[in-house]
C-alpha cells in the first residue's frame, strides 16, 4: 500500500485554473482603488481649497484630516467596520473599505492640493483679478491648471500608495488580491509562487498609473 493512497489530500498545488480567481481578485483591488482614489481626490481638492482659503478650516478640518493621515489605515478599517454593527447598521466589507479608503485618500490629497494652490503666486492671482475675472474664474482658469500641474507628481505618489494600501481591506474579508493570495497559499502551501504572481498583478495595476501621469507631466511642461 503506497503512502499517498492512505493519506487524505489536504493540499492541492497551484494551477492555471487559479489564475481567473486571482484576476477576479485583481478586479476587486482595481474597483475599490478606482472608487476611493477618484472620489477621495475630488474631496481632497475641495478640502485643500478650504485649507488654503480659510483659517478656521485650517484649524478644524486640518486637525480632523491629520487624524486620518496619522492613524494606521488598518486600525481605521477595523474600527470603522466594527463600529456600525454596534449601532445596528450592518456594513458590507466593500462599503466599509471604500469609505475608509476614500476618506484616507482625501486626507492625503488635501495637503497635496493645498500645496498646489500655494504654488500659484499671489501676484499671478492679482493679475487675473485685475483683468476682471471673478474669484471663481480665477480659480477655474488660472489657479486650477497651474496648481494641478504643480501637484501632479505628489498626487501620483498618493494614488500609487492607496492602490497598494487597498490590500489592507483584506482584513475585513473583502476579496481582493492579498486576500485571494492568502486563500490560495492556505490551499497550496506555495507562498513563493503565489506572492510573486500577486506582486506581478499589483505591478500591472500600478504601472499604467505611473506611465500615464508621467506622460501627462511631460505634456504639461511649460513650453
Amino acid at each position: 500500500m503506497s503512502e499517498s493512497a492512505s493519506t487524505i489530500q489536504f493540499f492541492t498545488g497551484f494551477s492555471v485554473n487559479d489564475l481567473p480567481f486571482l484576476a477576479q481578485a485583481a478586479g476587486g483591488t482595481l474597483l475599490i482603488s478606482i472608487i476611493s482614489i477618484s472620489i477621495g481626490s475630488i474631496l481632497g481638492c475641495l478640502f485643500g481649497w478650504a485649507l488654503y482659503a480659510s483659517k478656521y478650516a485650517r484649524y478644524i478640518l486640518g486637525s480632523i484630516l491629520d487624524i486620518f493621515r496619522s492613524v494606521p489605515l488598518i486600525i481605521q478599517l477595523l474600527l470603522f467596520f466594527n463600529f456600525f454593527p454596534i449601532l445596528g447598521i450592518p456594513l458590507e466589507p466593500f462599503a466599509a473599505g471604500c469609505i475608509v479608503l476614500t476618506v484616507y485618500t482625501s486626507a492625503l490629497v488635501a495637503q497635496v492640493a493645498r500645496g498646489g494652490i500655494e504654488a500659484v503666486p499671489e501676484s499671478m492671482r492679482r493679475a487675473s483679478r485685475s483683468l476682471g475675472m471673478s474669484y471663481f474664474q480665477d480659480m477655474r482658469y488660472v489657479v486650477w491648471p497651474i496648481g494641478a500641474r504643480a501637484m501632479l507628481p505628489a498626487w501620483t505618489g498618493v494614488a500609487l500608495g492607496v492602490l497598494k494600501d487597498s490590500a489592507l481591506v483584506s482584513v475585513l474579508g473583502y476579496l481582493e488580491l492579498l486576500r485571494a493570495s492568502q486563500i490560495l497559499i492556505t490551499r497550496t502551501q506555495e507562498p513563493f509562487i503565489i506572492l510573486a504572481i500577486v506582486g506581478a498583478f499589483y505591478f500591472a495595476l500600478s504601472y499604467p498609473i505611473g506611465k500615464i501621469t508621467a506622460r501627462l507631466e511631460q505634456r504639461w511642461q511649460y513650453d
Binding site: S128, S130, L131, M133, Y141
Partner: protein, 240 residues
Amino acid sequence: MIKLQGVDKSFGDLRVLKGIDLSVEKGEVLSVIGASGSGKSTMLYCINALENIQGGKILVDGVDVHCAGTNVNKLRREIGMVFQQWNSFPHLSVMDNVALAPQIVLGKSKDEAYSIAEKHLKHVGLGDKLHTYPTRMSGGQQQRLAIARALAMEPSYMLFDEVTSALDPELVGEVLDTLRLLREDGMTMIVVTHEINFARDVSDRIAFFHQGVIEELAPAKDLVNNPQRERTQQFLSKVL
C-alpha cells in the same frame, strides 16, 4: 476721470497713504515717483480695489470704487493693470494669455477674442510670437505680453506698477517704448516708475510721493527740472 479724495490706507498700524487727493483726467498721463515704501504702488492697488481703503473715496468715472454695492469685477474691466512681475499664465500660449479674459469676462467668441488678441499683440510688437509659450520669451517680451493682455479688455485706464523694475537693463527700453506707443494712442495712464527721464519725457504731470503723502505735484518738466520742495530736490539728486 479717476479721482482720489482724502484716501487713507493702512496695513495694520502702518499708515501707507495719508489723505491722498489726486485726479487724473481722460487722456492724461500721470507718473508717480518716490522712494520704495512711499505708498505709490499701494495707491494703484487701491484704485482698482485689489486693496481696500480705510478712509476717503476713490471715484472712477463717478463710480465709488470702495462702496459696498460696487461690482469690482465690472469696474476692473475699465482699468487695465500691469505689474512689476509680468505674471504671464505659463499654461497658455501667448495668444491664449491675451484672449482668455475677453472670452470669459466679456463673453466674446473664441474667434472674436483671437482677433482682438492678435491686434494687440501686433501692436506691442509680438506679432511673431502668437503661438509661443511665455516661458520661452524674455522678460521684456513677457512684460509686453502683459500689456497686450490688459489692453485686450479695451480699458479706459491703464495702471503701471514699476513695470521695468524687474527687467534686465537691456530690456527696459522695449517696454518703455511700448508705453510711449500707448501715450500716442491717447491712453489715460498712471505710471509708477523709477525711470525719471522717461517720466519727464512722456507724462503730463508727475506726482512725487513721500511717506504716504503727495509732496509735490507739477507738470512733468517743471517737477524734474525745477523741483520746488526740498524733499523732491533731495530725491531727484539721488536718482538722477
